[in-house]
Amino acid sequence: MTSDRSIVIDSLGVGLATGTYGVSFGAISTSSGLSVLQTCIISLLVFTGASQFAFIGIIASGGNPLTGALTAVLLGSRNLFYGVSMAPKLDLDPRARLATAHLVIDESTAMGVTRASRRQARLGFYWTGISIFVLWNLTTLVGALAGNAIGDPRTYGLDAAVGAAFLGLLWPRLASVKGRLVALIGAAVALGLVPVTSAGLPIIIGGATAVLLGMLWRPRATS
């Protein structure tokens, strides 16, 4: 049986590791042309890393902010399913649900969903979620101010950092053949569309095509 103490310590460890990379979000965001206020509002109110990076990535490449928002919301769709699997574990009344929803992200779910008791599920979920929330927002502000001071993001390779950040988020999903295939199709379709459509659209069309093809493809070897 895992002790409460070790759950809290593990959760804080995950919180520290994840929360600090808000600095890269903040720096990339302001050097992409968003204001410090916009950057901090996004971290405060969106609070789901991949969606935030997608939004500023599309703005930086000259895309329509609504296309950016749509991509961000599509990426956030996985949080819906995290919520579904966390709900019975956390067992919340409606008011607590409203306050808790904001914390439903990859890491808090991962640290909460495997616990045997409601008490420990809540410990893992809240300690992880709240520690990331606090750090993510603090480091976003630090990064946003730094990004503002830097000037041209290309001088420090910040434009290249966005690709690296996306790859870091994608990496765990490349473990399966299907994940690799879907990512590759998404990349290929998007790249093919870059010269012929407006910025932002290649991402949505590429992603959608990849998901559709991925769903049609069923390897025969596995059951």
Binding site: F47, G168, G186, G206
Partner: protein, 101 residues
């Protein structure tokens, strides 16, 4: 600038709605196999597309430059299990250095 705020409002509302809906819907409603499979694949497809555009696109043209090298460095570091933040910093630094020479 106003357009960016509009995008932010839509993103905030959409992302929160998804999180809240997940905690609120009765169990089983979203368990249809097609839905589950689609949602599992969305991050891989979108992130793949995002990487391609981020690394190769320059406006509406496709270009190979220091960004691709930085992506390669990121892949090597990830394979070596380097944590997220140092991985991003080193990969950005490589792009910056290459542009200096």
């Amino acid at each position: 600038m106003t357009a960016v705020w509009g995008g932010i409002v839509v993103m905030v509302a959409g992302c929160f709605a998804l999180k809240y809906a997940g905690l609120s819907v009765p169990e089983g409603v979203l368990q249809h196999p097609v839905t589950v499979r689609a949602v599992e694949l969305i991050p891989a497809g979108l992130l793949g597309a995002l990487i391609a555009v981020q690394v190769f696109a320059d406006g509406s043209s496709v270009r190979v430059d220091a960004r691709l090298l930085a992506l390669g460095v990121a892949a090597v570091l990830l394979a070596l299990r380097v944590p997220f933040l140092p991985m991003v910093v080193v990969s950005a630094a490589v792009a910056a250095l290459v542009r200096q020479v």
